[in-house]
Symmetry: C2
Subunit: 377 residues, 2 copies
């Protein structure tokens, strides 16, 4: 993997991550394909709408169908029919957010499956091995994701473990030549909760170990926006310039604007896809709840400024009808639109950065994104 900076004003930047499976223009949005499919989409549709990388969840794929089976079948790309780059998370976040029971040991985490209640144990090495067997292009180190709020002492103690685990992940990665065998890159995950000194310590420790990219985890876990923005604004500029900066699980576009301003390059989250399935759609005029009675006989497209398949071919009235009838095509058309909207937003944002108009872009969109929220409810 290679990271090239194309445009950089000291803070905000446009770049490109070059992987053996394709180049990713940054800042980038990574659609989430939890179980090896971005819900309601085919890989062809994702490619067509401009997605350059997708994210899959190691934890979910470990539980079903199992990473061994995927490995046996030729790896994740072949299994899911996606030839572009894939980033796999390590499973740390899912272990802490999904498992009904978990016990943390020095050597790893014991947890109960949220599907069938069976008991599992994952060590940092196991998390690395799974990702190598999946064959993702970017693997993530195994970390402990601290809940919000959390006592300083607890976060500090947890951070010691996360750092140790990061070191063990890197060791496994080197010992098994993962960068050669699976052509993988490995990213470290900065933890430290809402405490700036711990965040800084985490970054320093990870940089000592050395990774191909650096991610910020443990945000968007329930904290107020102000605190999140505070941490983003603090840690983003401290992170090393020559490496991709990935803000995990944060993708409210207001937050994205703050993060991009502070140098972040990579984003993921399920908001556009989940909202689509719930009938909440993003448009250039603000958010729209498609089930509203006012759209009953509305012949106009969802977003007149949008070039997606949904907006080019269907009326709000039809989208409302499909949604109320719980038709699968409702999920599909809504997801196509929301993902296209996100990917297009990122594309326009890259253009604004290159054209030195990011601050205007940010201001204009903050207005739209706020206005919109009030329209919806």
């Amino acid at each position: 993997m290679e990271f090239v900076l194309k445009n950089f004003d000291g803070k905000t930047r446009v770049g490109a991550i070059k992987t053996p499976r394709g180049t990713i223009q940054t800042p980038t949005f990574m659609p989430v394909g939890t179980l090896g499919t971005v819900k309601a989409m085919s890989p062809d549709e994702l490619k067509e709408m401009g997605a350059e990388i997708m994210l899959c969840n190691t934890h979910h794929l470990y539980l079903r169908p199992g990473h061994e089976i995927i490995h046996q079948l030729g790896g994740l790309h072949k299994f899911i029919n996606w030839s572009g780059p894939i980033l796999t998370d390590s499973g740390g976040f899912q272990v802490f957010s999904l498992s009904p029971l978990r016990r943390i040991f020095e050597n790893g985490v014991e947890f109960r499956s949220h599907i069938d209640g069976s008991i599992h144990f994952i060590s940092p090495e196991a998390a690395m091995e799974m990702q190598a067997m999946l064959g993702s292009d970017i693997a993530m180190a195994f970390d402990e994701c601290v809940p919000y709020p959390a006592e300083y002492e607890y976060v500090a103690k947890s951070l010691c473990l996360t750092t140790k685990w990061a070191g063990r992940c890197k060791k496994w990665f080197i010992d098994h030549g993962a960068s050669v065998v699976s052509k993988q890159a490995l990213f470290g995950i900065i933890q430290g909760g809402m405490h700036k000194d711990l965040r800084e310590r985490s970054l320093e420790e990870l940089m000592k170990i050395g990774f191909d990219g650096y991610a910020v985890g443990g945000l968007s876990v329930g904290e107020p926006k102000e605190e999140m923005h505070e941490i983003i604004g603090f840690i983003g500029p401290l992170m090393p310039v020559g490496y991709p900066k990935y803000l995990m699980g944060v993708c409210d576009l207001v937050d994205v604007l703050v993060a991009v301003e502070n140098g972040f390059d990579m984003f993921d989250c399920v908001m556009p896809t989940r909202n689509a399935r719930n009938g909440t759609l993003f448009t250039s005029r603000g958010r729209v709840s498609i089930k509203k009675t006012e759209f009953k006989a509305d012949p106009s497209p969802l977003d007149p400024d949008c070039d997606c398949y949904t907006c080019k071919n269907y009326s709000k009235a039809y989208l409302r009808h499909l949604f109320l009838a719980k038709e699968i095509l409702a999920m599909r058309l809504n997801t196509i639109h929301n993902l296209y909207f996100y990917l297009n937003f990122f594309k326009k944002m890259r253009g604004a950065i290159e054209g030195k108009t990011f601050s205007q872009f940010k201001k204009r969109w903050e207005g739209i994104l706020c206005r919109v929220s009030s329209i919806e409810y």
Copy 2:
């Protein structure tokens, strides 16, 4: 609408129905788009896999979103983004099969909506008006669908009503110039239960009224296969040669073979789409239940002889994984395959008729279709 016979051995035939919106090769299979969408499919996908006509349900579209709204929005084709021919049923079958309460009057049927319990009344004229407002290419007369089993006296009495209603439908159609205004064709529906004399009487009465095509209703309502085949074999050859013969709601392929042998041209049913969503898939080797453990790590396509998108790009292992994880893509890929299988079956069947090898085709497929059933369970 024009019906052209291309190949005819006195009974079995290949033809073409020419409509202003496109030509339909017969025998044809019409995917069912109950609420204005073939479940899980986009219209583009349907077209790509060779569907030449789709069926929509007047009854369902009347209840939601309402035929007035669809008319106001430019008609059904525009509303659902399907430019090919559409056949709408009259709603008779749905009134009798879906409504919790219904009362039959000389003038029409009063029924309770299966969605919200509201009371509605549909006359033959109303059923025609709805279909004209939807703007379908082929409209169906409003009939009473008799349950199975039914006493001879009841069926005979019901038939009188169905014939009267057919006459009123035709009158409305002429009075309102529907063939000009909506460029519609109108088909009559032969009823008469399992009684040959009543079936014959129904046909004669409908032919006196005069329709653009003739359909057989009231089969596949619970009767034994032998009785169904008996009626198909009796009525098919009696129906007039120069008009399309449509066997409604019957689409088990074994029954289709019997019906095509007896001259039927048009078929519809939800079996391929509904089975797909339940994980039962049709293949050239028989039926497959995709959830079976034996497919856990199976790298082979569902049907090695199939050229559909699903079989060209995905393994049984992935299809099984998606199905067990209840992913929307499972519904999509399974539906693509089953519909492609059906459409391709009809295409090959037309080739066999033209090549004078229909009897071999029928024998071979009867073998496969039986063999298959035993594999599945």
